[in-house]
């Protein structure tokens, strides 16, 4: 029992939680912005996969991790722009477009991977990975230094992007308009705001963030690409957005919490504690449903989420 409790605040568990949370946070922030513009993008899983591949192949072939990140992000943006064309211009049902995009994206990434790396019985190709970016001085603080200040630079970037994003959404003209588009595209249209353009931008940003998540999985964590690299993280990011009620602070908390649960169950196993870990893994999903019910009175769900906007129709 003491193991169960001790694992709760274990330094390694916390550091691991932050690491696991990083791609979730990145993808969730991107999805939140996309949804704020009224687009429900279920294609994050595919976007992450495509980006992980884009990062990996360039990092490996061009031998530059930074170029790798850049191209991963580029790939993510490209796929998201395809989504934008489908849902914002052609106005295909968003749910289906997202599902189709997953199929297409994952297939495309794997197809290209095989084109670049035919497997004939050798080892798995592996690229370099970024080293942890330990922040001088701060990383020497006991416990906190190890948990918080000895992570990847992208982790810091993800966390720092929260206030930046908050400021952008709440204190700039652009953010104001973006939020308006998700709530009342007709009003924005009448105000001269290019609704379609905003949705393209929002999706591109979502692609950028999912792209970073993909890059994190390949060129930060493992230096590997494989077809199941996203492993459901796109879906969990989606859950986190709802769990976080479309609020940046709560999304950050949600991502950390979901990452924490995963790290915790691994730690319990490592301690030899017998728990049906499936139940711990299911907890985030159950909690997301619970959050939906609890938040219903003060929901910040964009009023026009998932509904295609047609001018002249109401």
């Amino acid at each position: 029992m003491s193991d169960v409790l001790e694992a709760l605040i274990n330094v390694g568990v916390l550091a691991s939680a932050i690491r696991i949370a990083t791609p979730l946070l990145l993808a969730a922030l991107g999805e939140m912005v996309t949804e704020r513009a009224g687009i429900l993008n279920l294609g994050i899983e595919g976007t992450i996969t495509v980006s992980a591949f884009g990062s990996f192949v360039v990092a490996d072939k061009a031998d530059s991790l930074w170029l790798g990140v850049l191209s991963g992000v580029g790939a993510g943006i490209l796929l998201s722009l395809l989504m934008a064309v489908l849902v914002s211009s052609i106005k295909v049902e968003q749910v289906v477009a997202g599902l189709a995009l997953n199929l297409f994206g994952i297939g495309m990434a794997f197809y290209l991977f095989r084109a670049f790396y035919p497997q004939t019985g050798g080892e798995m190709p592996r690229s370099d990975t970024f080293d942890y970016a330990e922040i001088p001085l701060l990383s020497d603080i006991p416990a906190v230094g190890e948990v918080v200040f000895s992570q990847h630079w992208l982790t810091y970037a993800a966390i720092l992007s929260c206030p930046v994003l908050w400021w952008t959404l709440n204190r700039t003209q652009f953010g104001l308009e973006l939020r308006s588009v998700g709530n009342n595209p007709a009003a924005c249209d009448m105000r001269g705001i290019n609704v379609t353009g905003m949705q393209y931008l929002a999706l591109a940003f979502g692609g950028l963030m999912a792209g970073l998540a993909g890059a994190f999985l390949s060129v930060f964590l493992s230096g590997l690409f494989f077809v199941d690299v996203a492993a459901g993280r796109g879906w969990i990011a989606l859950a986190i957005v709802i769990f976080g009620n479309w609020r940046i602070g709560r999304i950050l908390a949600g991502a950390l919490f979901f990452g924490y649960l995963d790290a915790y169950q691994l730690s319990l196993q490592a301690r030899g504690v017998e728990v049906p870990h499936q139940l711990l893994l299911a907890l985030p999903f159950v909690l997301t449903i619970a959050a939906l019910v609890v938040n219903r009175r003060r929901s910040h769900e964009p009023l026009h989420l998932g509904v295609p906007y047609f001018r002249g129709e109401r």
Binding site: E177, A187, R191, N194
Partner: protein
């Protein structure tokens, strides 16, 4: 006063035609709007006024012809172009982001500023409010504002962008007589300061009261443009309708019968607090039409909803034939003979993608006539549709067609045919002629009277005073969720009802408890 100088023409439509599937909304329209004047576009619902306004604002593009501003043709494909050209518009249905504050709503779409300087915006907006005497809390979410105030937010939005032409589409529908007066005063002042105002309305007296110029539209065409001072209301009526009409229906009233609807002490809260009901009591008898007057947003929606079972009452009783119906669902209320015609027939009354025949049985799909043990009786449905087509003179290719293809008047006929079919005991009607042309309006009103004569008790909620004065046996007036006065039709005058509508309570004894 010299409206004729070509250089004073600010906005011009030149031979503008706009078609929608199945209709020509604007047909070769040419008109000129002069600088710093108030120009009314007058016409019935469906005459093409709103479409023309949308063309001026870049919402739609003309299929033929051109819009000109300051003598130059301007090609607008989006409201953005209109805004850039100095055109502002307040549409009939507000375009507000309800969860956001007044200030934020105003700032949306102001170009060229990356960071929202809310402080500066607040200052400028404050000046505008002071200038025109607008009182509104800038930090309240607009969803929490009264409709009248929301309209001011819309006007502020247009002014904030510094427009030269301000188009207002039916702005008075949501205002009290007092509010209208204030609006008109403000508009006159704006015009005197150089703003050009295009006001869309279907109310003659408003035209006479405020405008310098008036253009009458009928069926998408311009009938005539003239100086308001040179026409009379009778002229305008003739132009609007195309003939002399008297919508008054000769009402020979039979004595009313037993008490059918007895409402007392009804309270209904709404989430925002707007449009709630407070201690409403009213009675309707057999062979009687009780009219409910009031400016929209004063509780009429809640009253309709609570009577048909869409909203629960927080306090009070609703008796129908002395039976408490509080526990009855909408379906249960249909069963005991409560029929209803909702205000928004497209959203509340019809399934636009259903076949017409299917819409005609909506609500009675499980009745013995149209089904048995969960199965639909296709033959019964078909026969009923044929009967309805004949009885209500519905103009549609066949009952198997999708409802979407019908015109507004025919849509309302379908609703009426459906609701009147079961010989309702109580008929709750909300804005039954809104948006209908003269012919359909006449038809609907006549059917209501017929229904009354056959013994139904009718509660008629309307914002059209003429309609109420014409049809009702008694008129009650709602203000801020209360019945503030009730009067027999024979004693009713526009002034008296207008006072009540503005919230001024009548002398003791006039308002029935």
């Amino acid at each position: 006063m010299n409206g004729d100088g070509a250089d004073s023409v600010l906005l011009r439509a030149r031979g503008v035609t706009k078609r929608f599937p199945g209709v020509v909304a604007n047909d070769d329209i040419t008109l000129e709007v002069h600088r710093a004047r108030v120009h009314c576009l007058l016409g019935e619902n469906g005459a093409g006024k709103s479409t023309l306004a949308d063309l001026f604002y870049g919402v739609h593009e003309p299929d033929e012809g051109a819009i000109e501003l300051r003598g130059e043709p301007i090609h607008m494909v989006s409201p953005r172009d209109a805004i850039a050209a100095g055109i502002g518009m307040v549409r009939q249905h507000f375009e507000l982001v309800t969860p956001m504050s007044v200030l934020e709503n105003v700032v949306i779409g102001t170009r060229g500023e990356a960071k929202v300087d809310l402080r500066a915006a607040r200052g400028r907006l404050g000046e505008l409010c002071d200038l025109y005497g607008v009182e509104v809390d800038l930090d309240t979410p607009v969803g929490d504002l009264a409709v009248g105030q929301q309209q001011w937010v819309e006007i502020l939005k247009a002014l904030y962008l510094g427009c030269e032409v301000l188009i207002l589409d039916e702005p008075t529908a949501v205002l009290t007589p007092e509010g209208i007066e204030r609006l008109f005063a403000t508009l006159r002042r704006m015009a005197s300061e150089g703003l050009t105002i295009v006001l869309i309305t279907h109310k003659l007296h408003e035209v006479m009261e405020i405008s310098d110029d008036v253009t009458v539209l009928r069926r998408g065409r311009v009938v005539r443009t003239s100086l308001t001072s040179e026409v009379t209301m009778a002229d305008l009526t003739r132009m609007m309708v195309g003939r002399d009409v008297d919508l008054a229906i000769d009402v020979v009233e039979a004595p009313r019968g037993d008490l059918v609807l007895d409402v007392s002490g009804l309270d209904v809260a709404t989430e925002s607090g707007r449009g709630s009901l407070k201690q409403v009591s009213l009675q309707v008898h057999e062979r009687e039409i009780l009219g409910i007057a009031g400016v929209s947003g004063n509780g009429q929606d809640a009253l309709f909803d609570v009577l048909v079972g869409m909203k629960p009452a927080d306090a009070g009783r609703i008796l129908v034939d002395a039976k408490d119906i509080a526990e009855l669902s909408p379906a249960g209320r249909l069963e005991i003979g409560i029929a209803s015609v909702p205000a928004d027939r497209i959203h509340q009354g019809l399934m636009m993608d259903f076949r017409i025949s299917e819409n005609l049985i909506l609500g009675r799909q499980r009745s013995d006539r149209f089904g048995r043990r969960g199965w639909l009786n296709q033959k019964g449905i078909g026969e009923f549709a044929d009967d309805s087509f004949a009885a209500f003179d519905i103009a549609a290719p066949s009952p198997a067609h999708v409802t979407r293809v019908l015109s507004g008047g025919n849509l309302q006929k379908i609703v009426m045919a459906r609701e009147l079919a079961g010989q309702p005991r109580l008929l709750v009607v909300h804005q039954p002629t809104r948006g209908l042309d003269i012919g359909a309006t006449e038809y609907v009103r006549r059917r209501l009277v017929e229904e009354r004569d056959q013994g139904a008790a009718i509660l008629l909620i309307s914002e059209d005073l003429d309609e109420l004065l014409n049809l009702s046996s008694r008129i009650a007036v709602m203000f801020d969720g209360r019945i503030v006065g009730e009067v027999d039709r024979r004693d009713a005058t526009v002034d008296r009802i207008g006072m009540w509508m503005a919230g001024v309570s009548g002398a003791p004894g006039e308002a029935l408890a």
